[in-house]
């Protein structure tokens, strides 16, 4: 209907608005659309991916032993000196990541709430014919990741919690102490599975959001890229905890 709100008349009902809106939007801005939210999500997601790839590379230095790993951690903090102050690069990364996190979570929450409002009566029976499992896991998977990140930062950066009571000022030793505790390793592995799933859908989804998948072939290619990225990242991260627990990496 476009001739104004349609009303329901009837003695017992009074007059009730039937259609939620009948107005046309004026002064639309591209930046205020759900697609803009998605673009933010994709860009922040890609920033995360860049970071985790780098981070994973750093973690894998654990295989090279105590000194190599700590050297890397140290190097991170002195990178660019004296052009940058001490921990300069790290802070740039931190600020970027924090910004990305805020944006990513904000957009995720906004889209989630919209989706909930967009269907208030659920179906009695609903099949999922087109969706992958990973795509349906995005939101709760994201929440899992958020919880993980909070714990992770407490664990390694902000709080420096060493559950086995050891020193916290030596990154390599903290790492080994942490993953020598089986349940911590489990938490990390679960988180890495969640990350893998998130990226399995997320990478292709970001490509779709950025408009890179305009035909069936591009879509198939990006689905492959997404799968490979997810696999590399989740397996790459999992190696260190597993090998610590297995005693291959030790103090």
């Amino acid at each position: 209907m476009s001739h104004g709100p349609r009303l329901l008349h009837g003695p017992e009902r009074g007059t009730v608005l039937l259609v939620s809106t009948t107005s046309l939007v004026k002064g639309a801005r591209a930046s205020r659309s759900t697609i803009a939210l998605k673009l933010l999500m994709a860009i922040s997601g890609l920033i995360f991916i860049g970071f985790v790839l780098m981070h994973m590379y750093g973690n894998l230095k654990a295989f090279a032993g105590h000194d190599a790993f700590n050297e890397y951690a140290h190097h991170l903090r002195t990178f660019g000196e004296p052009m940058l102050p001490h921990e300069g690069l790290l802070w740039i990364i931190r600020v970027t990541l924090l910004g990305a996190l805020i944006v990513h979570v904000y957009a995720a929450v906004a889209l989630w709430r919209r989706a909930q409002r967009a269907r208030t009566t659920p179906y009695a029976v609903k099949k999922h014919t087109g969706a992958t499992f990973a795509s349906r896991l995005m939101r709760w998977g994201g929440v899992t990741l958020l919880l993980f990140i909070i714990w992770h930062l407490l664990n390694f950066t902000i709080g420096k919690v060493n559950v086995s009571g050891g020193p916290t000022n030596d990154p390599y030793n903290l790492l080994v102490d942490t993953f020598d505790t089986w349940w911590l390793t489990v938490i990390y592995l679960v988180a890495m599975a969640a990350l893998g799933a998130h990226l399995h859908h997320g990478v292709w989804s970001a490509a779709q959001t950025l408009g890179l998948t305009g035909n069936a072939k591009a879509r198939a290619t990006w689905k492959k890229i997404a799968f490979v990225t997810a696999l590399i990242i989740s397996v790459g991260f999992s190696l260190v905890p597993i090998f610590v627990l297995a005693g291959v990496i030790s103090k």
């Binding site: 039937l18 939620s20 801005r29 591209a30 673009l39 967009a118 087109g130 305009g214």
Partner: protein, 253 residues
């Protein structure tokens, strides 16, 4: 030759007297259903029966009954338009088995309020089109048709996405209640043609704004929509939609 083993079915159908009253699922039995019947003809038969018993027949939409007008649309056992890739009116009872229980619900979306039983209001789609789903050309002002050639492939792509019938199954199937496939189909149709270029940026921005305003959800690239679409509109169109919006953003819209 038509098969002759007729079926008995249990139907669980959403009944709701009008837009403002609460609804609920009701159970009905139908017998002697021929496999050659269309799904809607099966409901016609049930309605004749209800009418004879003095019960209000079940309201559902349909018009062309040949899969082109987009008027029909039911959620059947959790699949928009049922288990086949076609419209509800072109679904036949041979896709079901004797003794089966079939759950029938209306499209569920805030932007598609239920009017009665299985009938919903899809006027939000019209308003999305009003916001730029056209090429502004007044009657009589068109240049000679052959003055602008269109590469054949572009014309083919435009055509294949222009086959969207506006049924709303994509929205019904999407977990986010998003109308991105519908919108993407129109954006792609007009965007493929030279005639569609001048308004390309404003079109996408305005249509998306209306889409959001109507209360449809944002797309998170789940892909249920394309699986439900009776015209097999591919996900390409959503990518195109996103790209066009990004371009518009860049152009300052």
């Amino acid at each position: 030759m038509s098969s002759n083993s007729n079926m008995s079915l249990t139907l669980k159908i959403w009944r709701q007297p009008d837009a403002v009253s609460a609804g609920a699922m009701h159970t009905y039995q139908v017998t002697d259903v021929s496999p050659d019947m269309s799904f809607l003809e099966m409901l016609d038969v049930l309605n004749e029966d209800l009418n004879a018993k003095g019960e209000d027949p079940i309201a559902f939409d349909s018009d062309c009954r040949e899969g082109i007008c987009g008027m029909c649309g039911l959620m059947i056992n959790g699949d928009a338009h049922g288990p086949e890739v076609t419209t509800t009116c072109q679904l036949h009872m041979r896709s079901f088995t004797d003794g089966e229980t079939i759950t029938i619900e209306p499209w569920r979306a805030t932007a598609f309020p239920v009017i009665k039983d299985l009938v919903v209001d899809r006027s939000s789609f019209d308003r999305i089109i009003q916001q730029g789903g056209y090429i502004s050309v007044n009657t009589g002002s068109a240049p000679e048709a052959h003055s602008v050639p269109v590469p054949r492939d572009d014309a083919m792509r435009a055509f294949s996405v222009a086959t969207c019938i506006g049924c709303g199954a994509c929205v019904a199937a999407c977990p986010n209640g998003s109308a991105s496939l519908f919108m993407g189909a129109k954006i792609t149709h007009l965007g493929e043609l030279p005639q569609g270029q001048p308004e390309r940026d404003s079109r996408v921005v305005n249509m998306v704004a209306q889409h959001d305003h109507e209360g449809f959800g944002g797309c998170t690239n789940i892909g249920e929509c394309t699986a439900a679409c009776p015209k097999e509109i591919p996900l390409d169109v959503i990518s195109q939609l996103n790209k066009d919006l990004r371009t518009a953003l860049k152009h300052g819209f």
